[in-house]
C-alpha cells in the first residue's frame, strides 16, 4: 500500500516569526494615530491670517496661535531682556499688526517674504514702534518666539514676473 504523500497542512505558526511583523504593524498603527493626534489636537498648529487674529483678538487673549502674513520694510533690531529681538509690522489683505519677535529670526527673513509666526497678543504700547513706518500703534502687539518662512512657488528670475508675493503696503 502506498503511503499518503499529500503534504499535511501547515501548523498554525505562533512563533516569534509571526509575532515580529505583527508587533511592527501595531507599532506603525500607533504611530499613525500619534501623528493624527498631534496634528489635529494641537490648536497652535492652525494658521490664522492677519485679519482673523485682529477680528478674534478678544477670543485669542492668553492663547498661543500661529499667524501668516508679510513683514513690511522698516525692521528694527533690538534686545528684549538679554535676548535679541526684531520689531516689525506684519500684514495681509491690508490688515496690519505690530510684532515683537524674540530670538533669532529665520535666515531668509526679510520684508516682502511671508512668514508664519507663533505667539500671543499683548496689550501694551511700546515706544520702539514709533520708529516703524507702517506701525499700527493701536495699543496691541504680537509677541512671538517661533518663525518659519512660507516660501512661494515661483522660480523665475525676471523681477517683472514676480506678481504673487503678498506685499500689502508694498506695490507688486
Amino acid at each position: 500500500m502506498t503511503e499518503d504523500l499529500t503534504p499535511s497542512p501547515a501548523r498554525p505558526e505562533r512563533s516569534k516569526h509571526r509575532r515580529g511583523p505583527i508587533a511592527i504593524i501595531v507599532l506603525l498603527l500607533t504611530a499613525v494615530a500619534a501623528v493624527l493626534f498631534v496634528t489635529l489636537g494641537d490648536a497652535t498648529l492652525v494658521f490664522y491670517e492677519v485679519d482673523e487674529v485682529v477680528e478674534q483678538r478678544e477670543e485669542l487673549i492668553d492663547k498661543r496661535f500661529r499667524v501668516v502674513g508679510t513683514p513690511l520694510p522698516g525692521i528694527v533690531e533690538t534686545t528684549v531682556g538679554r535676548e535679541s529681538a526684531v520689531l516689525f509690522t506684519f500684514c495681509a489683505q491690508g490688515v496690519y499688526v505690530d510684532v515683537v519677535h524674540v530670538g533669532d529670526p529665520a535666515e531668509l527673513f526679510q520684508p516682502g517674504v511671508p512668514v508664519v509666526l507663533q505667539g500671543e497678543w499683548v496689550s501694551e504700547s511700546l515706544p520702539e514702534f514709533q520708529s516703524l513706518p507702517n506701525a499700527t500703534r493701536d495699543g496691541w502687539y504680537l509677541s512671538t518666539d517661533h518663525m518659519v518662512v512660507k516660501h512661494d512657488n515661483d522660480y523665475r528670475t525676471d523681477p517683472d514676473r514676480i506678481t504673487d508675493i503678498e506685499s500689502c503696503g508694498l506695490k507688486e
Partner: protein, 265 residues
C-alpha cells in the same frame, strides 16, 4: 514571454541585457543630473520688485532637483502602481499582479522615506525648521510612509500565499486613498499650511532650472523602473524557489516511501 520563462532563460539572475542598458543609462543620467543641479544651474536669487533686496532660496534650491522627482515617485507613482497592481490581483488572482504590487510599494517606501528626510534637510535653511507638524503635506506623506511600511510588515506575517496577497492588496488600496489628499493639500489648505503650491502645474519655472527639473524627473523615473524591474524579478524568483522547494520535498518524501515499501516487501 512569461516572467517565469524569462527568469529561467536568465538562470535566476535578475538582470537582462535590456535592464543592464537601462541601469547604465540611469547611472549616466544621475551623474549628469548632479552636475546640472549642483554646478551648472544658478542659485535661486531674485530681486524683490519693491524693496530691491535679494530674495529666494539661494543654494538650497539645488535640493529641489532631487526632491521633486523623488516626491513624484515615492508618494504618488509607486503607491499608484501598487494600488493598480493590487486591483489587478483582486480581479485576476495571479501572482504576477501581487509581485508587481509588492515591488512597486517596496521601492516607493524607500523613495517616500528619502523624500521626508531630504525635505527636512531643505526645510532647515529655507523654512527655518527641520520638521513642521502643522504642514498638511508633510503629515499626509508621513502617514502614507507608515502605511507603506505596514504593507511591507504585513507581507512578512506568515500566512497562506493567497491570503497574504489579498490582505496586502487591501492595505495598498487603503493607502492609495491618501494620494489625492497629499496632492491637493497645498490647494485645499493653501493659507493654513507651510508647503508651497505646485510650481510645475503653474509653470513658474523656466530655462535651465526647468530643464534640470524635467531631467531629474526623467532620470528618477528610469531609476524607479530599473529598481521595480529588479525587485519584481527577485520576488518572482523567491516564489519560484519556494515552489521548487515544496516540489523537491514531495519528491524526497515519495522516494523515501518507495524505498520503505520495497524494503518491507
Amino acid at each position: 514571454m512569461s516572467a517565469g520563462k524569462m527568469l529561467k532563460q536568465n538562470q535566476g539572475v535578475t538582470s537582462s541585457p535590456k535592464s543592464r542598458l537601462l541601469g547604465f543609462a540611469t547611472l549616466l543620467g544621475l551623474v549628469t543630473l548632479f552636475v546640472f543641479a549642483f554646478f551648472l544651474t544658478d542659485p535661486d536669487v531674485r530681486l524683490h520688485p519693491t524693496t530691491g533686496e535679494e530674495i529666494g532660496q539661494f543654494d538650497a534650491v539645488r535640493l529641489l532637483y532631487l526632491h521633486v522627482p523623488m516626491a513624484i515617485i515615492g508618494p504618488y507613482l509607486a503607491p499608484l502602481v501598487g494600488a493598480v497592481a493590487s486591483i489587478g490581483y483582486l480581479i485576476k488572482r495571479t501572482p504576477w499582479w501581487d509581485v508587481t504590487a509588492h515591488a512597486a510599494i517596496e521601492v516607493g517606501a524607500i523613495f517616500c522615506g528619502l523624500v521626508l528626510v531630504q525635505g527636512s534637510i531643505w526645510g532647515r535653511p529655507v523654512w527655518n525648521t527641520w520638521w513642521e507638524w502643522g504642514d498638511v503635506r508633510i503629515m499626509t506623506t508621513l502617514i502614507l510612509f507608515l502605511m507603506l511600511l505596514g504593507y511591507l510588515a504585513l507581507r512578512r506575517v506568515v500566512a497562506d500565499e493567497h491570503k497574504q496577497a489579498r490582505r496586502s492588496a487591501i492595505v495598498a488600496l487603503v493607502a492609495a486613498i491618501n494620494l489625492p489628499i497629499i496632492n491637493r493639500s497645498v490647494e485645499w489648505w493653501e493659507s493654513r499650511t507651510l508647503h508651497q503650491k505646485s510650481t510645475l502645474s503653474e509653470l513658474k519655472i523656466e530655462d535651465l532650472t526647468f530643464f534640470t527639473l524635467m531631467m531629474g524627473i526623467v532620470v528618477f523615473l528610469m531609476l524607479f523602473t530599473w529598481l521595480v524591474l529588479h525587485r519584481f524579478r527577485l520576488g518572482w524568483l523567491e516564489k519560484e524557489s519556494l515552489k521548487q522547494e515544496a516540489l523537491t520535498a514531495i519528491e524526497e518524501r515519495r522516494a523515501v516511501a518507495v524505498t520503505n515499501e520495497e524494503e518491507t516487501s
